[in-house]
Amino acid sequence: MKKTILSASLLASLIALIASANLSAAAGAPCGNYLSEDGLTKGECKEAYVDATDKASLQRGAQVYMNYCLGCHSLKYARYKKVSEDLEIPLSMFQDNLIFGDQKIGDLILAGMDPKEAKEWFGNAPPDLTLEAGLRGPDWIYSYLTSFYIDESRPLGVNNKVYENVGMPHVLIDMQGTPRSVCRQMPLIASNGGIKQDPLTGEQLTQEKCGFLEVDNGTGEMTPEEFDQAMLDLTNFLAYMTDPLKIERETIGTYVLLYLFIFTMLSYLLYREFKKDLH
């Protein structure tokens, strides 16, 4: 009888587990029309490398953010000083290079643009990005940043694969160069996962697939690899923004756990000692 209950609750927890796995998969916002490099999956985000301990990457990300993003997107829950401390950027260097206008080092990081005017210009005020990585996930941000392409039908001349018809201009186009949505001949994949071939000639069968992104050669200040790295740095910086105290939290957590392990071990020994009286 005990077993029935036990197996029932086991079964139930199994269902719950499957359920939770299901949900966490759905939790990262899906990436619109984003096409993977091999052309096989659509709408799944590209995986971003996020590492809160990589200070160099965070510093580069901060540099891009302050220079290209902060004009419109505030980080209004965070303070300059904390960023300079966390990212190990000397205060004076930070002040001279990364703070614009008359903002002070202890201030919240506000955007230069007036939200009301922004709404008139872009249809929507650019959102604050302090918590964007928590809301959408770093993978989404990375995919989004690398998914702009030229689309003359849009008012700003660009569109985005991840966020279709977004109101944001491609701010980093000088860096990246001119990205275009192109079609490619891709090998046909059979249901068993292999590449389909012509039964007579043995030639690989191909199919035209559209939606790949390519940058016109030599139009950008950066090579595609450099640009990709810059976007990873920027993503890393935004992930840090959402959870700035991750490293401190996990360090303290480790000590707390260590303490609890010792406490639990001692309390177990105490319990075992008293238990002897009972039997």
Binding site: L11, R249, L257, T264
Partner: protein, 412 residues
């Protein structure tokens, strides 16, 4: 010296007597098992919530304009503020996980049966209060999910025939969810509900100590006593239970701290990702889900898709959902079994209890996902099986064949 001080107090207050009765000499059955730990852990979580809540309160700003930013202020600028907040959010989920285990224990071993009916009812009231605390607390960060969850839950009152619309306005204090609503939910969350919770928990424990703890065999340990009148099959709380509980608290805190420091979002269950965005009454999130501990009832709410007797589907769903929470209170009077514990009950009881558990989990899952026709049908079926456990209980407990109950508790 200590004796002198104690004597001074004992002449003016039943101090020693109270400590002995409720703590040191409280007789606990020797065959209590792991299921009996949820109770003491609930007290631990209650203390965690009260302590962390007070510290949050020192920095939180209960206004529609300032609430969201004040949470981020706590997370970033207040020294160790993030620890306090994560303690509170993890504590909320732990509270529900434990109370579900605690309730299930009671259902399994018949802890609601005579003479523990009142104890059960008091426990049920703490569950109700906890549901309200969870809801009101969830709204306070004033993120997107806070706002829209409040919108959905409060609009349920609007579905009540005739008085619904006016009632809804009265509850909200406004024509839509606003800072006024936030303020009143805040007042409930930090004053009224915790006060009520502490009071009811106190009486719950008093009632427990009056009737004594049940045990996995469901036998009455008071039948056989030694010459001092202490039941034979019990051990004093001090030192035997306290050392046992201390060990259990250690193990529990290891889990708690792991979530709190390393997975504070809990994969979107402890803190929903949508709540990273400040409340915006012009922008509905694509998919509104309540916290995981309400999802079984949310699934019931959505399972009712048809109007009946001139009542709207929404109102009926509300009624079913409320009934799903309320029906626990009737358990002592639904169970006609001569035995308490599932160990000696018949096969029907075992089957229906297992069915209940499965229904609860499946409904819980269905409450987290978007509805499709198939899922709605599943939710309807499992809502029926959920209620079947309760409503058919007078029949199956009366006619099933039970095993003989031993006189004394069984060990090993």
């Amino acid at each position: 010296m200590v004796t002198k001080i104690m004597n001074w107090f004992d002449d003016r207050l039943p101090l020693t007597a109270t400590i002995e009765r409720h703590l040191t000499k409280y007789p606990a059955p020797i065959n209590m098992n792991i299921w009996y730990l949820a109770g003491v852990l609930l007290v631990v979580v209650l203390v965690i919530q009260l302590a962390s809540g007070i510290w949050l309160l020192m920095n939180y700003e209960p206004t529609a304009e300032g609430a969201f930013a004040s949470i981020q202020y706590i997370m970033r600028d207040v020294e160790y503020g993030y620890i306090i907040r994560y303690m509170h959010t993890t504590g909320a989920s732990a509270f529900f996980a434990l109370i579900f285990l605690h309730m299930f224990r009671g259902m399994m071993y018949g802890s609601y049966q005579k003479p523990r009916e009142l104890l059960w009812v008091l426990g049920w009231i703490t569950y109700l209060l906890l549901c309200m605390l969870g809801f009101t607390g969830y709204v306070l960060p004033w993120g997107q999910m806070s706002f829209w969850a409040a919108q959905v839950i409060m609009s349920l009152f609007g579905s009540i025939p005739y008085i619904g619309e006016d009632l809804l306005t009265w509850i909200r204090g406004d024509y839509l969810i606003s800072g006024i609503t936030l303020n009143r939910l805040f007042a409930f969350h930090v004053v009224l509900l915790p006060l009520a919770l502490i009071a009811v928990v106190f009486v719950h424990i008093l009632a427990l100590h009056e009737v004594g703890s049940n045990n996995p065999d469901g036998v009455d340990v008071k039948k056989f006593k030694d010459e001092d009148g202490v039941p034979l099959d019990t051990k004093p709380f001090f030192p035997y239970d306290i050392t046992h509980d201390l060990y259990a608290i250690g193990v529990f805190l290891i889990f708690f701290v792991t979530i709190m420091f390393f997975y504070p979002d809990g994969g979107g269950y402890v803190i929903e990702y949508v709540n990273y965005e400040a409340a915006d009454n012009l922008k509905t999130p694509e998919h509104i889900v309540p916290s995981w501990y309400y999802t079984p009832y949310y699934a019931m709410l959505r399972a009712v898709t048809f109007p009946l007797f001139g009542l709207t589907a929404k109102f009926l769903g509300f009624v079913v959902m409320a009934a799903g929470i309320a029906i626990f209170v009737a358990l002592p009077w639904l169970d006609r079994s001569p035995v308490k514990s599932i160990r000696y009950k018949g096969n029907y009881s075992k089957f229906f209890l297992a069915l209940f558990v499965v229904s609860f989990f499946v409904l819980g899952y269905l409450g987290t996902v978007t509805s499709t026709p198939g899922r709605t049908l599943a939710a309807q079926i499992f809502t029926v099986t959920y209620f079947a456990y309760f409503l058919l209980m007078p029949i199956y407990t009366k006619y099933e064949k039970c095993k003989p109950v031993p006189d004394r508790v069984q060990l090993g």
